[in-house]
């Protein structure tokens, strides 16, 4: 990630340890997310419980990042790219921790969905949406490791598709619920799961922005057009005019 070596080698070692911790956290988060989709698709409550338990490991890594970054800021007075590296780690770990929490929430909702044995048709869209965000996460982690700003921008743009999937699923669920009131409970669970995945995509775009800033020293800003007013409301974009 960093180019060239510091004269004081222990400084290099500490930064490397920080970067490796972020990568470890990202890998764990990805695993949690994949497992959550699998648990839902395969109606696997045992897996769901395991995901809920494993969330602690990611919280531990988040605390580890806090301690390491405090130490680096206090004891090394990082400058320029080193400072961006440390601040990026703080922000990225926070976003990863939220993504992992959403995966855990998905697992929590899977349990009642399976136990009440109500499979609703729109649920089939969830794995596709989830996979799209997993791909985004994988690619932004690669961008972080390789210091590739272009890759980060590509992932940042890919979130548009996830937002579209969410809006489409939202409409589908509404229609489905209106057809039969007994479907309302399971559809609401599915709706929350879909919302979680949409938020995970947003957190991944945060990571993209952080990686872009880390690599280039410039903030990532570009307008992403959205369609109808409802779409914009649903995806928190309240500033673009019709």
């Amino acid at each position: 990630m960093t180019t060239g070596h510091h004269i004081v080698k222990s400084y290099d070692d500490e930064l490397k340890a920080l970067n490796n911790t972020i990568i470890e956290m990202a890998n764990l988060t990805e695993t949690q997310f994949e497992s959550a989709i699998q648990a839902l698709a395969n109606q696997d409550t045992a897996l769901a419980y395991k995901i809920i338990e494993d969330d602690d490991r990611i919280d531990d890594l988040d605390h580890a990042v806090d301690e390491m970054t405090m130490g680096l800021l206090a004891l090394r007075q990082p400058m320029a790219m080193d400072l961006r590296n440390v601040v990026a780690a703080i922000k990225i770990s926070s976003d990863l921790e939220r993504i992992a929490d959403y995966a855990t929430n998905m697992a929590r909702r899977t349990v009642p969905l399976v136990e009440e044995a109500t499979v609703v048709r729109p649920i089939h869209a969830i794995p596709r949406m989830g996979q799209a965000v997993i791909e985004m996460l994988r690619n932004v982690v690669d961008a972080y490791i390789e210091g590739d700003a272009d890759k980060a921008v590509a992932v940042w743009r890919a979130d548009k598709e996830v937002d579209e999937m969410y809006v489409s699923l939202f409409r589908e669920l509404l229609t489905y619920m209106m057809e039969d009131a007994r479907r309302i409970t399971p559809c609401t669970h599915v709706l929350f799961i879909a919302k979680n995945i949409e938020r995970m995509g947003d957190h991944v775009t945060n990571v993209c922005e952080t990686v872009y800033y880390l690599v280039t020293g410039e903030p990532l800003r570009e307008d992403r057009p959205r369609k109808t007013r409802t779409d914009r409301l649903l995806t928190n974009d309240l500033e673009t005019e019709d």
Partner: protein, 289 residues
């Protein structure tokens, strides 16, 4: 971290080693890199120092852990250099200076009649702010100490001592082909490393450094700091610095002095992230002047 054999006069000390394992073990302070217990190399108890009628240090109780770097920080005139000079009895050479209290190395009193002060100063070496190489060749600068202490039986043994010292000080590569040239012909950073080599050549146990980088530019300073990181595997180091960022980078234990009092002593990461004393916080955040 097992602290049974180490009775701290002040707060606990722990070298920084920020790896993922050390942080995840749930210990609040950062764990030691080595598995050994912390041994105290030098200690002072109730140390008072007077220059004539003026008292410069008041009842200092401080432990210096072995094979670690202890930094002494504080504003000008706080007594940190006076304290440093107590450790190798350099204050004995100052007229009117009186030292009271207990100072020990490896539990032995350094003022014990049976102890030879010249030998003490070989065990506890010193490096000063302004590099002060002798007006001799690079070789003779480093060989001087071993010669007068009779540390080498023959020329070959002496050569080896000189080469090892220059290498440990990170200077050998740069000067290997001109060991006969004058020490004063080197750059500031190189001269300081020569002085460190000179101190190491007599196999000290402790190295005292009084603002060793104040006269050097940032790159030369970084080279010395990397050298200090390497040296602490084998030597105990006490460094006085008015640059507290340097103390933060280089040390594992930091002691803050103010008006002759030891205000606070703790692991460097604790001091610079959450100091216990208001005065320490005021000093390191630049809040008082």
């Amino acid at each position: 971290m097992n602290m049974e054999n180490y009775r701290p006069a002040t707060a606990t000390s722990a070298p920084t080693g920020m790896t993922i394992d050390t942080v995840l073990t749930g210990e609040k302070t950062i764990k030691m890199e080595s598995a050994e217990e912390t041994t105290v190399k030098m200690s002072t108890r109730n140390l008072d120092v007077f220059y004539g009628d003026k008292q410069a240090l008041f009842g200092i109780d401080l432990d210096v852990p072995e094979r670690a770097v202890t930094a002494l920080i504080g504003p000008s005139g706080c007594g940190k250099s006076t304290f440093l000079r107590c450790l190798n009895r350099m204050n004995d050479t100052i007229d009117g200076c009186r030292v009271d209290g207990d100072i020990r190395i490896d539990q032995s009193d350094i003022y014990d009649r049976a102890l030879d002060v010249v030998e003490l100063r070989a065990r506890i070496g010193m490096v000063f702010q302004k590099p002060n190489p002798f007006p001799k060749s690079i070789y003779d600068n480093v060989a001087y100490g071993p010669r007068i202490h009779g540390l080498a039986e023959d020329k070959d043994a002496l050569d080896e001592i000189v080469h090892n010292a220059l290498e440990k000080a990170g200077l050998l590569k740069e000067v290997a082909d001109r060991l006969d040239s004058p020490g004063t012909g080197l750059s500031g950073g190189q001269q300081q490393r020569l002085c460190i080599a000179r101190a190491i050549a007599v196999s000290p146990e402790v190295i005292l450094m009084d603002e060793p980088c104040s006269a050097l530019d940032p790159i030369a300073t970084a080279h010395i700091e990397e050298l200090i990181d390497e040296l602490r595997e084998n030597f105990t180091i006490v460094i006085v610095t008015h640059n507290m960022q340097q103390a933060a980078r280089v040390s594992q234990q930091t002691a803050f002095f103010h008006l002759g009092i030891l205000v606070e002593c703790n692991s460097t990461s604790e001091i610079f992230t959450s100091p216990s004393d208001e005065r320490t916080q005021g000093y390191i955040t630049g809040r008082y002047g």
